[in-house]
Amino acid sequence: MNRHSFFVCESLQRVMQNASPALACTLLLCGLLMSATGCGKTPAASFRPNMVEAAKQRLTPDQEAQVATILEAMFGTPDDPVALPETGLDVSKLRLAAGPVHSDIVGRKNGLFREHCSHCHGVTGDGMGPTAAFLNPYPRDYRPGWFKFKSTERADKPTHADLVTILNNGINGTSMPSFALLGEAKVDALVEYVKYLSMRGEAELSLMRYYFELDDEDEGKLPETREFLVEEILLPVAERWQEAEDAIIDVPEMPEVDLQESIALGKELFYGNKANCVKCHGVTGLGDGQANDYDDWNKVVKQWSDEVLSAHDASTSEMSREEKAEHRAWLARSDKALAGDALDPRTIQPRNLRQAIYRGGRRPLDLYYRIHAGINGAPMPAAAGTLTPDEIWHIVNYVRSLPYEYDGELGADRSMVARDRL
């Protein structure tokens, strides 16, 4: 008896007996080579639907499909973007940024977004690329159309130049790196593509929300006329992007006072009741004031998950069988959306002002913008109208001096003062 027969099952033995080793070798070799060099290409990339919003608006599968169809007609696919003239987007730039990474016939690199951005921001621009869950803060979700660091008023979109600045400088204090070395043309194309993704996301949101406003005679279907789609859906979004270029904040000159005096005035405002910076940024300036707030992206998820959680707890005893089934289906779908299409909400911390890290840029001008317009999407409110430009400038000067302020009284918290490491 062969003592090692246990290693191989009987059937394998029979196969082995009937095939010659040469034949088997060849077959296996071919198989390995084929699987390694790729007979099976992966399917083309696609945009991911906004599942949270779909669950929230209780869209039917038919309605979801309709949204997808409309969006594909209006915006195309990740490999083949479409931009209607009303968007004001430059399709040639989009083509440079879209699609899989490849070099075209003149050796120009295409697919920039997927090469540089999508592993964090996701192919859809939903801020849920493969790496997203591990970053703090989370990468930006472009779909609601909120942008934080810009030179325009709080409610307005950023200008093209604002986004170029972000790409060039990166966002210090986050995982967003600088892309300045890509060169102007590529950065420009990427900004155009970000705008495209943002418009697409906003259009998706308003399409999904529009079902709610439909009349009964529409039978739960959106009109698919060009007029409706452009006038009601696309233009309200696109126009605001185009208006942004005219909404740049007008910044008056810094008042002509001694710097130390200005810093002292700024400090007074910082701690005073008028500007009230201290409430969130803390008496230490370490950002330890308000700790349980969310930014708008996380707030959406937080509120939605709270709602779904309480719906889980709600009593279904008074529901009819159909209602119960519907309720359960909706819960299952909402849970799925939360698990697969949303990152766990995380609180937002006010900036530690002693690190000399300024996410939106360290120029006095940038800080002025931040205080004047607040930070869109974040709890930081706009001070415009409340504070005079001079007062804002004083606070700017004080904030810029904070990292270098004597911090002996911070005592045990000294390790938090990281200005020495930028």
Binding site: A65, A68, T69, I70, E72, A73, M74, V82, W146, R154, A155, D156, S206, R209, F212, E213, P223, E224, T225, R226, E227, F228, L229, P236, R240, N273, K274, A275, N276, K279, C280, Q290, N292, D293, D296, A314, S315, E318, G374, N376, P379, M380, P381, A382, A383, A384, G385, T386, L387
Partner: protein, 257 residues
């Protein structure tokens, strides 16, 4: 086939003819009244935890205003508005005065404010502490302004909001209010006793919509002991020149769960 759909949508440049209703002013106008009551034992509003500006805000004995059941079990803060976008507007009802939303006693007053498109809304702060008012509109650009003690700011809206927008204060996380933005003047918020009045409505058939912050768009109400389906808060009423009273509408306690 999705592709054929794509082509159809992408290429359909021809504008669909919209049936625009002839704009004829109604001849008669009527008033709508009604009252919402809570079906069941009225729950006590839970107290809020005040952990910011304690010295000022803890004086006000603040409670959670998600569900306010007032005298005679009236449900306050239910929003009733006319859903029809092309509704005739009585010539007297031109919005002139700005709506005021006050930060008063570490809460928003009124709890639900109603403002029309294009109308100004003044957000002011009558408290001795600083506030900020974060208005989370969906169709309109969201705003968030710092309002120091005694200060005020003015905002306006360019489009109506299908769902009332939440107003919060980031400094005092418990503060929450609502703004109803409509493009006509026909909206009301129930008072402490649960009653509301909308005046000078065009007579005839109108579609109302009912919303409450905890219940969302109401699904069922009980009118005259009969369960009435108002799916998505939509309810048809006949406005009579003599006035229409919807009477007492009971909201089941389960609606607010």
């Amino acid at each position: 086939m999705p592709t054929s759909n794509v082509r159809r949508i992408g290429l359909s440049f021809a504008a669909a003819l919209l049936l625009t209703p002839a704009s004829v002013f109604a001849a008669e106008w009527g008033t709508l009244t009604g009252r919402f009551v809570f079906g069941g034992d009225a729950p006590a509003a839970p107290k809020l935890t005040v952990d910011k500006d304690v010295d000022v805000c803890s004086k006000f004995d603040l409670v959670n205003e998600e569900l306010v059941v007032g005298e005679g079990k009236g449900v306050a803060n239910i929003v009733i508005f006319v859903r029809d976008k092309n509704v005739d507007v009585h010539p007297d009802l031109k919005a002139t005065e700005p709506v005021v939303l006050d930060n008063l006693g570490c809460r928003f007053f009124p709890h639900v404010a109603f403002v029309q498109v294009g109308q100004d809304m003044v957000i002011k702060n009558s408290d001795p502490v600083g506030h900020n008012s974060n208005v989370a509109t969906l169709k309109n650009p969201a705003s968030n302004t710092l309002i120091p003690a005694g200060g005020e700011t003015k905002i306006s809206f360019r489009s109506d909001e299908a769902v009332p927008a939440a107003v919060t204060c980031n400094i005092h996380p418990w503060m929450k209010g609502w703004v109803v933005v409509r493009d006509n003047p026909y909206a009301a918020v129930t008072g402490e006793d649960g009653s509301f009045t909308i005046e000078k409505l065009p007579a005839g058939e109108l579609e109302l919509q009912l919303w409450h912050e905890k219940a969302g768009y109401l699904d069922t109400i009980v009118i005259g002991g009969k369960k009435t389906d108002v799916k998505r808060g939509r309810m048809d009423v006949e406005i009579k020149a003599s006035g229409t009273d919807l009477g007492e509408m009971v909201l089941d306690a389960s609606v607010f769960k």
